[in-house]
């Protein structure tokens, strides 16, 4: 087939046009970020709270021009609180969608399954799960945690019981879930190291409607504080109710779930919620004068103007969600979307100013949350998802 000079010129121009135009189009394509929340299923309350912050942050990032002119697009796969579905979602995000980075999963059980998978696909990952083994710069060099570890959570609670409340005889109880039993096994030796005597240690089926036998055992062993480790609101409320029925005024110190609004609804009397101190995070807590930091107040104003509901969730969940895409966007603005460059940037991140906390990483330490920002709060001070610092903390 012969080709005229005019046809050859036209073809050449077309080829040139497509090759030049492609990067320009790519530069305008949205940057896809994988997102693996648990929006349904039994562990979804955390994911629903985090999701409110994430959506607000992505809206703000895109309204402000995106990442170097490119919009941030969240590719969401609901894990349904199920590790198997989380693995399927992660595989699809990395192999099908080819996302630049993944945030999540937001529950430890799902992350335990997903972190090794993402490590094999060389995808940068940021997650907020507490189980200690979920970061390891040697095994998972692309995985970062922008939340505390179980050691930090248990450490703060143990410090509060032993050093602030001066209680030496402690009862440690959990449900029979993996989280519960792992927490008891991890925290009991930590308590003993601090000089406390663990007079009761037990794992109880959370479906058991009566925990009085366990509390009687704790009482007869001389316990001066109860430390429950469970995310099951029914189980925790039974412990608080039974303590109230027994008229036994020992402090209950432990998991953040002790302070969620649902617990209030499950209590026989609201006054039973006194002397209960859950974990929380200093930047999102009211100080002794009932005030939040300027940064957190500004965030609350943004939540209110965006009409985001706060009464049925916790402020730290929303704040954590809000910070995560902002941190990822900051990395991409600085170094682009290449996985190695994102990881290189995060490895040098110092004091990223989050609402939830200031995050720093080093190549050797991928746990970014600072120890001193993990605190204890008064459970019955819950207002707009935030709490007052427990007695003993300076403002």
């Amino acid at each position: 087939m012969s080709m005229t000079r005019r046809q050859a010129l036209a073809s050449g121009a077309a080829v040139l046009a497509t090759t030049i135009a492609r990067p320009a189009i790519a530069a305008k394509e949205p940057i896809q970020v994988g997102y693996l929340p648990a929006l349904t299923g039994p562990s979804s309350s955390t994911g629903i709270g985090i999701n409110r912050g994430i959506q607000l942050a992505v809206q703000e990032i895109n309204a402000a021009g995106g990442i170097d002119g490119r919009q941030m697009e969240l590719i969401t796969r609901d894990t349904q609180s199920d590790p198997t579905k989380a693995v399927n979602g992660a595989a699809e995000l990395t192999r099908g969608q080819k996302v630049s980075c993944v945030f999540g999963p937001v529950n430890s059980g799902e992350s335990l399954a997903v972190v090794p998978l993402l490590a094999r696909t060389n995808t940068p990952q940021v997650h907020p799960c507490w189980v200690d083994t979920l970061t390891d710069p040697q095994k998972y060099p692309m995985c970062f945690r922008n939340a505390p570890t179980n050691q930090q959570i248990g450490g703060a609670a143990n410090r509060y019981v032993v050093e602030v409340l001066k209680r030496k005889k402690v009862a440690v109880i959990s449900d029979t879930t993996g989280y519960g039993t792992a927490s008891v096994n991890a925290y009991v030796p930590m308590l003993k190291e601090k000089g406390a005597e663990v007079v009761y240690q037990g794992n109880v089926d959370a479906a058991n409607p009566d925990v009085k036998p366990e509390l009687l055992r704790m009482q007869s062993a001389g316990a001066e504080a109860i430390m429950p480790w469970s995310v099951n609101a029914g189980f925790l409320s039974r412990i608080i109710n039974t303590r109230g029925q027994m008229g036994w005024d020992v402090p209950i110190v432990g998991q953040t779930t002790l302070g969620i609004g649902l617990i209030a609804g499950l209590l026989e009397k609201h006054e039973y919620w006194a002397n209960v101190y859950p974990n929380n995070f200093r930047p999102v807590c009211f100080d002794g004068g009932g005030k939040l930091t300027d940064r957190t107040n500004g965030f609350l104003d943004r939540l209110k103007s965006a009409k985001i509901e706060m009464g049925d969730t916790l402020l730290w969940w929303i704040a954590l969600g809000y910070d995560s895409p902002r941190m990822i966007a900051e990395a991409m603005k600085a170094v682009g979307t290449e996985p190695d460059k994102i990881v290189g940037y995060l490895n040098q991140l110092k004091n990223f100013p989050g609402v939830y906390g200031d995050i720093s990483f080093t190549p050797e330490r991928h746990n970014g949350y600072p120890d001193e920002q993990v605190v204890m709060v008064e459970a019955n001070s819950l207002k707009d998802g935030a709490f007052k610092l427990a007695p003993g903390y300076s403002s």
């Binding site: 349904t40 299923g41 039994p42 562990s43 979804s44 309350s45 609180s81 029979t176 037990g202 794992n203 109880v204 089926d205 479906a207 058991n208 409607p209 009566d210 009085k212 036998p213 366990e214 009687l216 055992r217 099951n232 609101a233 029914g234 409320s237 649902l262 609804g265 499950l266 026989e268």
Partner: protein
């Protein structure tokens, strides 16, 4: 300690006994063990919380609606999960069909109602005392069901018809009894009893989708111990189970309490495979 074992043990035992009766009423009418019995108990608690706490309906109306909801689910169970497999009972397909329906309803409840325990309303505005409504409501519900079923089966024509299809449904049909209608009525009654169990024990168990498998499991133990289809045996076994479980909670505590319950259950069945009041039935070989 003894007071706590007896009060909580008998109260939870009554809930187990009611779930066991739910199994039995469905079994008598169809020869099918419907594993939706625990789901009915769960729904009783969820309906109570939904109608009274969330929707603000009066307790009496919420109670009647909860029972009606249970009865409707009982009928749906008969139509969807039991009737299609009646022709092949020997293949035990009902295990799959009733479990599948139970799981679907359980997941639907988790998605639409809540994945967390929700508060169940305090039904009577009475001060809290040692012998609280938390304990005596399940006992009262259990007594009401036992007396009600006795009166129904012994002193009414329709009760005699229920007994007839339970004894021999071919003969009952040959006599002109509407077997399908009676079976559906039995499932409706069973649904109401199951929902009553969850409603009466709601303050103790809370409104929670995951109560379904727990009640399915613990409700089946009195059926096995008391003899299949035997309501009196189920009540005695249910009460013994509740008391033993609570005593084990006090004596061994933690997860070992459940282990103790099932160890005794297995040993008992090895010694008396036909249950507490059952007797070995001869069969042609």
């Amino acid at each position: 300690m003894v007071q706590s074992i007896i009060l909580t043990g008998v109260a939870i035992g009554c809930v187990y006994a009611l779930i066991a009766i739910t199994y039995n009423v469905m079994f008598s009418a169809s020869r099918v063990f419907s594993f939706t019995a625990g789901t009915l108990g769960m729904l009783g608690g969820v309906f109570g919380s939904l109608f009274i706490s969330r929707m603000g309906l009066p307790v009496a109306i919420g109670f009647l609606l909860a029972l009606a909801g249970g009865a409707i689910f009982g009928v749906v169970t008969e139509i969807v999960a039991v009737r299609p497999v009646l022709k092949s009972l020997e293949q035990h397909l009902y295990v799959l069909s009733t479990l599948a329906l139970a799981l679907m309803v359980q997941q639907f409840t988790a998605i639409e109602f809540s994945t967390e325990q929700q508060p169940f309303p305090r039904l009577l505005d009475l001060p809290r005392v040692d012998f609280d409504q938390l304990f005596w409501l399940p006992m009262l519900a259990c007594a009401f069901v036992i007396v009600g079923l006795e009166l129904l089966y012994r002193h009414t024509l329709i009760g005699h018809a229920f007994l007839a299809i339970a004894e021999d449904n071919y003969a009952a049909r040959a006599l002109g009894l509407p077997e399908r209608g009676l079976r559906m009525a039995s499932f409706a009654i069973a649904g109401g009893i199951g929902a009553l169990a969850g409603f009466a024990g709601g303050e103790m168990l809370l409104a929670f989708f995951a109560n379904a498998p727990t009640l399915t499991f613990y409700g089946f133990v009195p059926v096995a111990l008391g003899g299949m289809g035997n309501n009196r045996g189920a009540v005695v076994a249910g009460l013994l189970l509740g008391l033993f479980q609570q005593a084990a909670n006090f004596l061994v505590g933690g997860i070992f309490a459940s282990v103790a319950v099932f160890t005794v259950f297995i040993i008992f069945l090895l010694a008396r495979p036909d249950g507490l009041v059952g007797s070995a039935v001869g069969r042609r070989v």
